[in-house]
Structures are given as structure tokens and as C-alpha cells.
């Protein structure tokens, strides 16, 4: 079995601030991370590999050369191979242009059973790249996946998260699934895998390696236009306590003490 995982390197938004004058992200000095939902997608693929060791988990990403660091993390978590789609021609791509390139890379890899991706990236929050890639490949897609059960007949039974419950869907391979954080808890990189990952090759593909033309990708192929972005007014510093009433009362008392209220 081959599972392709689509991953994106994103700025760690817990550390990103917004420039109040220009309303753009201040990216200087902000560390880059593997997009959290994509880590859930990778974990789902690796869980299948744990059960079926012959499974090949291939991670693909479109991004600048430094996205290689993120792909090394994926290898250190346990992925078998990594592909970086990187070319100036892809610069400025929106979700439409990006999914053209990713779909092309999936076609080139061939013989995949499933494609896993995160529901959305924390920098753009569009949740479009996964579904668009599936459309362009002509395969079924299930978004908001919170549980995956692999069946013997080349199908998976998944739970698709809804606001007030979930749907159970059975789908035959090949198919695209996009993961939400409730799907699993991503594994850590193990010490030995980190050292192995440093020695592994990451395959670079540029536009000539893919079956897309320069008019399909990049800024000019991107129909999205951003007219305005702004920071919503802050809601105030509220903290939601969780757990049983007893737990919450205990937490509350500790917080009061910490703030010298009691």
C-alpha cells in the first residue's frame, strides 16, 4: 500500500503577531512548523504502516527550499520518503494553483491507495487544497476525518466530523481524506530516526518534473484576490476551564491563589 501525505510548512501562529498598520503577518524571526492538521494526517498514515509494515508513506510538500526542514521532521516521525515541489514558477500560488501542482505530483507518484492531508493550514485557514486536489485527480474525498478504520477489501470506514455529531462513510481506494486534530495524537520523533532522517534524500521536483504548464501555477494562475485583511477586535483574556466540577473548582482556586485574590 502507498499513502501520500500532503504537508505544508507554516509559521507557528502561536508566535505570530499582526502588524496593526499593514494588517499583515509579522513573520520575522517566527519559527516554521509542520502544519498541525498535516501532522495528524501523517500520524494516520504511520498508524496504518505500524499495522501493515509494507506500506510506503510518501510525504509531498510545495514550498520554498527551507520547507525541507519540515520534511525532515516527517521522515524523523517515520515517513519513508519525501518530495519537495519547489520552483520560482510556483511562487504566489493560491489554493487553486497549489492543488494543480500537488495533483500533478500525485499523478507522477502513481499507484497510491490513499492521499491524506490536513483539514486546513493554520496560516491560510482555507481548507480548500485537499478537496481541490481530489477533484483534479478525479478521486473521492472525505473531509474532517476524525476516525479511520482500515478494512480488508481495500476500503476504509471513516467518521466525518460534523458540528453536532459525525457521519460514517465507507470509501474505496483511491481516495483523499483530510484530517482534523481529533483524529489522533501525532507521535514524536524518536532519537534514532532523527539521525537517520538527516541522511535520507529528499527528492526535489521543479516545474519541468510535473505535467503542469507555467500557466497552471503561480500568481497568474491564481484566481484569488485579497482585497482587505484585518484583525478582529480582541475578545478579552478569558480562560476556559475543563474537567469535572470538582476539577474546575480546584483549578479556579489555584488560579485565584496565583493571582493573589484569595
Amino acid at each position: 500500500m502507498r499513502i501520500i501525505v500532503c504537508a505544508k510548512q507554516v509559521p507557528d501562529t502561536t508566535e505570530v503577531r499582526i502588524d496593526p498598520k499593514t494588517n499583515t503577518l509579522i513573520r520575522d524571526g517566527v519559527p516554521s512548523i509542520l502544519n498541525p492538521d498535516d501532522a495528524n494526517a501523517l500520524e494516520a498514515a504511520l498508524t496504518i504502516k505500524d499495522k501493515l509494515p509494507d506500506t510506503i508513506v510518501s510525504v509531498i510538500s510545495m514550498g520554498p527550499p527551507q520547507a525541507e526542514n519540515m520534511l525532515r521532521e516527517c521522515l524523523a516521525m517515520g515517513a519513508d520518503e519525501a518530495y519537495l515541489i519547489s520552483d520560482r514558477a510556483f511562487g504566489g500560488s493560491d489554493t487553486w494553483a497549489t492543488s494543480n501542482a500537488l495533483a500533478s505530483a500525485c499523478r507522477k507518484l502513481k499507484d497510491y491507495d490513499f492521499i491524506f492531508g490536513g483539514r486546513q493550514a493554520i496560516d491560510g485557514d482555507t481548507a480548500q487544497v485537499g478537496p481541490q486536489t481530489a477533484e483534479k485527480l478525479g478521486i473521492p474525498q472525505i473531509t474532517y476525518v476524525q476516525d479511520i478504520v482500515l478494512n480488508d477489501d481495500n476500503t476504509v470506514t471513516v467518521q466525518r466530523q460534523l458540528e453536532d455529531g459525525y457521519e460514517v462513510i465507507k470509501v474505496k481506494s483511491p481516495a483523499m481524506l483530510t484530517a482534523v486534530k481529533e483524529l489522533n495524537s501525532p507521535r514524536y520523533m524518536s532519537v534514532d530516526r532523527i539521525f537517520e532522517a538527516m541522511k535520507m534524500d529528499i527528492t526535489r521536483w521543479n516545474i519541468n518534473d510535473l505535467d503542469v504548464s507555467p500557466t497552471d501555477v503561480g500568481l497568474k494562475a491564481s484566481p484569488t484576490r485579497v482585497y482587505k485583511s484585518f484583525t478582529p477586535p480582541a475578545k478579552g483574556n478569558s480562560v476556559m476551564l475543563e474537567g469535572s466540577v470538582k476539577d474546575m473548582v480546584e483549578q479556579l482556586a489555584v488560579k485565584f491563589k496565583h493571582h493573589h485574590i484569595i
Binding site: N69, R72, E73, A76, S185, R187, Y188, M189, S190, V191, D192, I194, F195, A197, M198, V254, K257, H258, H259, H260
Partner: protein
């Protein structure tokens, strides 16, 4: 400090581990006296506990910088867990890695790396602390086997160990050259442990005496040959010190973190404490010393990784980092005022945990002796 990419990745994943798995647990561990099994299982699974054990015996086969990173970041949150890691992955593993036969490694080192066995290291005795050569434990050659009798004290993991690395006298007339080292299984007749030690700090680790009453130890469990025990123990401590130095660094950093956090929150005289110059100068001193300790620790680790023998460097790192951990924990608690004396704040535990660092695996004064021995030429 500039580290290699693999070391940066390792630090990142350990920090992630600490955030996700160890957020509330140092206080629990301090109360219950045990590290949760699910955490130990994960330390094993990701090879955080076997970083310097070779791959062919189930370890990660990584370097000392990696080991130091693990010890620093884990101890920054929980010193007890740091002690648990260093007891197994260094004190017990190193004598086996460096002096064990292939059979001994297969039988004891592999299960240690794979988390199937817990090991302990028995050097200290009631009458032989810093004077490690004054041990009274004896091993009598009975032809087929050795018969070990004696008492070891303050042994980390003794109550839960499957085997212990034990030093004992095979020939008293030869002094330290008459000491040998044995691998002794806890299930053998005559092996027992003393009462649980009610410690001041690192209360998450289990510590007790090991009592040996005519324990029959097969000849195949002698480590490195008769009379080589003192060398094995000193060699182990020389390198093992890097781990404890990194633990001390982590504890110091953890205390500094708490001081920075608290002084920004606590308002007195209508200002956060952090706005007072006294606070700023104190924290500047603490941060500078922590960074100096860090450079010493990683310098020792890098020297070992590049094939050198960091006897001097590891003693300096252990000495300075341990003293710094105590000083920084003291000052951090002082900045907390009365609240620092209350168990609701982590600094109360950190202050207690720090105290062991200048005592175990060679007191600060023993480190000073080692350092002086290197720098004052005879």
C-alpha cells in the same frame, strides 16, 4: 550556541514531549513518588532513555550532545524524571557498553534499552561515599561462582530494579585495585532492598539500600575482569557526569523560567516585580550563569563526541551547573517571596530538587578535587 540540525530537531521534539506529556505531572510525581508507567513507556519507545546505547543493542546509537539535550529539557520540567533517565541510560548502561562481553550486553543491555529491565548502580556504601575505595562489600571466589555480601546505600531505582551493577572487593589487600564489578540480578537469593528513603527532593525516584547476603553470582557476571572495578566505576562516573551536569542545567533553566514568569505577574507597589531594577539585575545574573553552565555542559559533551576524554570538562560542567542550579533556585524562590515557600508554586519543588545536584554522582567538592588534579601539575 549553534547546534547541528539533528540536535535542534531533537530539542524540538523533547520540548513537544514535555509540553504534551509532562505539563502537570512534576507535582504529582513529587507526591506519589513514582513516575507514571505510560510516560516511561514513551521514554523507551522514542529512545529518550537509551540515547547513548548502541543501535545493535536496541538503543538509539546517538551521541552525548543528544543525551545532554534530553537530560536538560526533561529536567527543566521534572528533575525526578531526569534522574530516572540518567540512572538507566548512563550509570547502568555505560559499564555494560564499555566493559561488557557480547553475551552480557545481549542479556542485560538490550532489555535495559528496550525498557524490559530496570537497572541500578551500586557503588556508594554507608562507610564509602566520596571515599569510594573504602567499600566493605566483599566477593569471595567460590570456584563456580562469586559469593557477594555487603550493603549499598542511596541506590536510585533499587526497589524496582531487575539487576544492579555492584562493586565489591575481590582482594582487600590490593586496595582500589582489589575492587571488581558484578552484574547482580535482584531475583537471586540473598538480594534484598532496604526501606524507601524519604528524600528531600527528586521524590519521584525510588531510592533504597541494596542488601547482599551471600548472593551467588555466576562467574559470567563479572564485568571487565577481576580487579578492574574501580576503573570501571570511575570511567562510568567521568562520562555519566555529563548527564547530571545537563540535568543541573535543566533544573537551573526551569528555576529561571519560573522566576521570569512570576516577576512579570506579581504586582507590588503598583508595578510588576520585573520592572524593579533589583529584579532585573538578579535575573540578568541568573540567566548569565545558566548560559555559562550550558556552554560548559555542551563543551564536555562535544569533546566526548569528538573522541576526547572529557574528565576535566565533565567535572567542571557538573560542578558549575550543580552550584548554579542551587544558586538560581535559591534566588528564584527569593523572588517569589512567601509564595515561593508554598507548594502551590513549582519553585518550592525545584528548590528541593536542586539540592541533590551538588551531592550525587560526585559532590561539588569531589569535582573540585578532580579539577584541581587536572590543572595543578605535580
Amino acid at each position: 550556541m549553534i547546534l547541528k540540525k539533528e540536535h535542534e530537531l531533537l530539542r524540538k521534539t523533547i520540548r513537544d514531549f514535555v509540553e504534551r506529556e509532562m505539563s502537570t505531572y512534576p507535582d504529582e510525581v513529587d507526591k506519589t513518588g513514582k513516575i507514571p508507567e505510560e510516560v516511561i513507556d514513551k521514554l523507551v519507545k522514542y529512545k529518550f532513555i537509551s540515547s547513548i546505547i548502541p543501535k545493535e543493542y536496541g538503543g538509539a546509537g546517538a551521541d552525548y550532545v543528544s543525551y545532554a539535550i534530553i537530560m536538560e529539557e526533561i529536567s527543566r520540567r521534572c528533575a525526578s524524571t531526569g534522574t530516572y533517565i540518567t540512572a538507566g541510560s548512563s550509570l547502568v548502561a555505560l559499564p555494560l557498553v564499555n566493559f561488557g562481553t557480547p553475551e552480557q550486553k545481549e542479556k542485560y543491555l538490550r532489555p535495559l534499552a528496550e525498557g524490559k529491565y530496570v537497572g541500578s548502580f551500586g557503588l556508594t556504601e554507608p562507610g564509602a561515599g566520596s571515599d569510594a575505595g573504602a567499600g566493605q562489600t566483599i566477593a569471595i571466589d567460590k570456584g563456580e561462582y562469586y559469593e557477594l555480601s555487603g550493603r549499598k546505600c542511596f541506590i536510585t531505582n533499587a526497589p524496582i530494579c531487575d539487576f544492579a551493577i555492584i562493586s565489591a572487593m575481590t582482594d582487600k589487600s590490593k586496595g582500589t585495585k582489589g575492587i571488581s564489578t558484578f552484574i547482580v540480578e535482584s531475583k537471586w537469593d540473598g538480594f534484598s532492598v532496604g526501606a524507601h528513603e524519604d528524600k528531600m527532593g527528586i521524590r519521584g525516584t525510588e531510592t533504597s539500600d541494596i542488601i547482599l547476603d551471600k548472593v551467588k553470582v555466576p562467574k559470567s557476571n563479572l564485568l571487565g575482569g577481576e580487579g578492574r572495578g574501580f576503573k570501571i566505576m570511575l570511567n562510568t562516573l567521568d562520562y555519566g557526569r555529563i548527564g547530571v551536569a545537563a540535568q543541573a542545567l535543566g533544573v537551573a533553566q526551569g528555576a529561571l523560567d519560573e522566576a521570569i514568569k512570576y516577576t512579570q505577574e506579581r504586582i507590588q507597589f503598583n508595578r510588576p516585580l520585573a520592572k524593579f531594577q533589583n529584579t532585573q539585575f538578579t535575573i540578568a545574573d541568573m540567566a548569565t550563569k545558566v548560559q555559562a553552565a550550558r556552554l560548559l555542559v555542551y563543551d564536555a559533551a562535544m569533546k566526548k563526541d569528538s573522541g576526547g576524554v572529557p574528565g576535566l570538562e565533565s567535572a567542571m560542567a557538573k560542578y558549575y551547573a550543580a552550584e548554579t542550579a542551587n544558586e538560581v533556585a535559591y534566588k528564584a524562590l527569593q523572588l517569589h517571596g512567601g509564595y515561593g515557600y508554598i507548594k502551590d508554586y513549582p519553585i518550592e519543588r525545584i528548590y528541593r530538587d536542586a539540592r541533590i545536584l551538588s551531592i550525587y554522582e560526585g559532590t561539588s567538592q569531589v569535582q573540585q578535587m578532580v579539577i584541581a588534579g587536572h590543572v595543578i601539575k605535580k
